[in-house]
Point group: C2
C-alpha cells in the first residue's frame, strides 16, 4: 500500500530491460547468475566503484553518462588485459530521494554501453540510503589467445606505444569515452604485446605501474606524446605536457612491443584510433623524459593521488 | 613525501596478505584477475553491497565483523544456488579519516572468511572519500552437479524446509553468522532440491520470492517454525513469531523438496545444523499460516521494505 516507488519495482524495471544473452545461462531472478565462458581456462574479473562527489557530480553529469562510465571503466580494464567482455553485475547505493529516477537513468547508460559491447547484465544489488550515489560494477571477460597481457612483461628495448591522445579528460571525455576493447583485441591479434595498462591514473602514473611490475625503466619522448585538444586549450598555469602526463581518466591503452612489432603497427595500424610511439623501455629503474631540446630529465612525478588523512 | 598512509600503501598491504590460490591464474597486480573454473559450463556470480548506517554502524560492529559479513552474505547467496564459492573481488569506499585502519580491519574479516571457505581474493578497487563506508563484494562460484538450484522450481505438494532458527538476527547473529555453504552442498548431494533461497529479507518475504518465481502458494505451520532464542527474548511488543517471520538477515536456507526427500532428510540429516519441515507448497497463489489452533489465515505481510521517497 506504499504509493512511492519501491526497490523491488526498480529491480523489476531492470529485469524487464535486461535482455537475454547467449552467455547468460541464468540471469536476474535468483540469488546468483550463471555465466557461460568460451573456454575452460577461466574468466577475467575486474571491479570499479564510482562515487558521487569524487568521480562525478550530477549535474553537470547526467545519470545516463554515469551509467555509461561505470561500465566503460570496467571494459577499459578488460581491454588492458586484451580480454573480451562477457557479463557484468551492478551494485548501487541510490539516494532515497529521487533514487528511482536516478536508477532509471543509470540503467539507460549501462544498457547503452552493454549493448554496444555485447555485455550481458547478469545481476545486481540495489540499495537505498540517505548518502550520495555509489555504483560498483564487476565485469567478467574471456581471456583471448595467447592469453591476458599483463603489466609485468615489458622488456628493455621495447617501444612504448599508446592509443589516442592524453590530458584534459575532465573537460568532457571522462564521461563519454570509448573503452578501447576493439583496439586491444586488434592489437593483441596483430602484435606480441609485452605489457599493457589502461590509463586511468594518468600517463606518467600508469607507465610507472608497468615499470614497477616489469622492474624496468623508461624514456619518454616529449615531442611524441599525443596531447589532446582539451589539454592544449587548458589555460590554468599548467603546460599542455603536464596535463598529458598528469591528468587521469584518459582511458587509452599504454603498451610495449618489440621495435619490429612497433614499426609494423605504425606502418599498418590494425585500428582506426591513432597509435603513437612515445618512448622506450630501458634496463634502468628510472622514468625519464627526453625533452624537445634533447635533454634527458626525470619525468615529473604527477598523477592522481588517492589519499587518507 | 606524503607522510600519511596512501591508497597505494593500502593496496600493497592487501596484496601482501592475499594468499596465492590454485584457482587464481592471475591475482592482484593487473587490471583484471584470471580465475580458473572447475568445468567449462560457466561460473555463478553474485554481488552484495553493504553501507554504513544502513546495514551496520561502527561501533557496535567492528571493521573485522563488517569484513566477515560483507563476504559471508555473498557466500550465502552462492549457497542458495547450491554453488561452491571460488573467488571474490572487493570494491570499497573508505572514509578519508581513519580509512587505512578501517580498511585493515575489513581485510582481517574478509581474510578470515575467505580462508574458512577457501575463497580466493582475486582483486579489488580501493577508494577514499568524505562519506561513510561502503563495501561491495562480488563472488564467483562453481555450479555443482546436477546444476544450480533456482527459486522457480517449487512444486505443489513439496515440503517447505529450512536450516537453523529465525528472528532476532539484529541482536548479534547478522554480524557473525555462518553462511550455509557446507549445508547447501550436503543437501544438494542428498536430495533433489526443487527451489532454494537464503533468508535475507525475512522468512515470509523470501518465501514470497520462491512462490512468485514458482507461481505457487504455501501454507506454513505456526507450530513448526523454528524460532531463535533472540526472537523469543525480544520484548518489544511484537511476538516471537512476528520476529521469526519478519526479521531479516537470518542467512538460513529455505528450500522445497518432495515429501519423500523431506522425510529422508529429517530421518538422516546430511548436516549438523537443525533442519525443520515448516509447511507445504500449494497449487494456490496465497501464502497462508496454519495457526496452532488449526485455523488457516493469510500470512502477515512482513519483511524488510527497501524504499525510495
Amino acid at each position: 500500500m506504499n504509493a512511492s516507488p519501491h526497490e523491488f519495482d526498480f529491480i523489476s524495471h531492470v529485469r524487464q530491460r535486461a535482455a537475454s544473452h547467449p552467455r547468460l545461462a541464468l540471469g536476474i531472478g535468483d540469488d546468483a547468475a550463471l555465466v557461460r565462458f568460451a573456454k575452460s581456462d577461466g574468466c577475467l574479473v575486474t571491479v570499479d566503484m564510482l562515487m558521487e562527489g569524487v568521480d562525478f557530480t550530477i549535474p553537470p553529469a547526467t545519470a545516463r553518462q554515469i551509467g555509461w562510465k561505470s561500465l566503460a571503466v570496467n571494459l577499459s580494464d578488460l581491454a588492458a588485459m586484451a580480454g573480451k567482455p562477457v557479463a557484468c553485475v551492478v551494485s548501487v547505493a541510490l539516494p532515497r530521494r529521487g533514487g528511482f529516477e536516478l536508477g532509471r537513468g543509470l540503467m539507460e547508460g549501462i544498457s547503452e554501453c552493454s549493448s554496444r559491447f555485447d555485455v550481458a547484465l547478469a545481476g545486481g544489488d540495489t540499495n537505498t540510503w540517505d548518502g550520495p550515489l555509489v555504483i560498483s560494477i564487476t565485469c567478467l571477460g574471456d581471456p583471448v589467445p595467447p592469453g591476458p597481457v599483463r603489466r609485468s612483461g615489458a622488456l628493455a628495448g621495447d617501444w612504448i606505444m599508446a592509443t589516442g591522445e592524453f590530458g584534459g579528460s575532465i573537460t568532457g571525455k571522462h564521461l563519454n569515452f570509448t573503452p578501447r576493447v576493439a583496439e586491444a583485441l586488434a592489437l593483441h591479434h596483430t602484435a606480441s604485446l609485452h605489457a599493457m595498462i589502461d590509463v586511468s591514473d594518468g600517463l606518467a602514473a600508469d607507465l610507472g605501474h608497468i615499470l614497477e611490475e616489469s622492474r624496468v625503466g623508461a624514456v619518454l619522448d616529449e615531442g611524441r606524446i599525443p596531447i589532446s585538444g582539451a589539454a592544449q586549450a587548458a589555460a590554468d598555469g599548467r603546460t599542455a605536457l603536464e596535463h598529458a602526463l598528469g591528468d587521469g581518466e584518459d582511458f587509452e591503452l599504454l603498451f610495449t612491443v618489440s621495435p619490429t612489432d612497433g614499426q609494423a603497427l605504425l606502418k599498418s595500424p590494425p585500428c582506426e584510433v591513432r597509435l603513437s610511439h612515445i618512448g622506450e623501455i630501458t634496463a634502468g629503474v628510472e622514468c625519464l623524459l627526453r625533452t624537445r631540446a634533447g635533454h634527458v630529465v626525470p619525468l615529473p612525478a604527477t598523477g592522481w593521488k588517492h589519499g587518507f588523512e
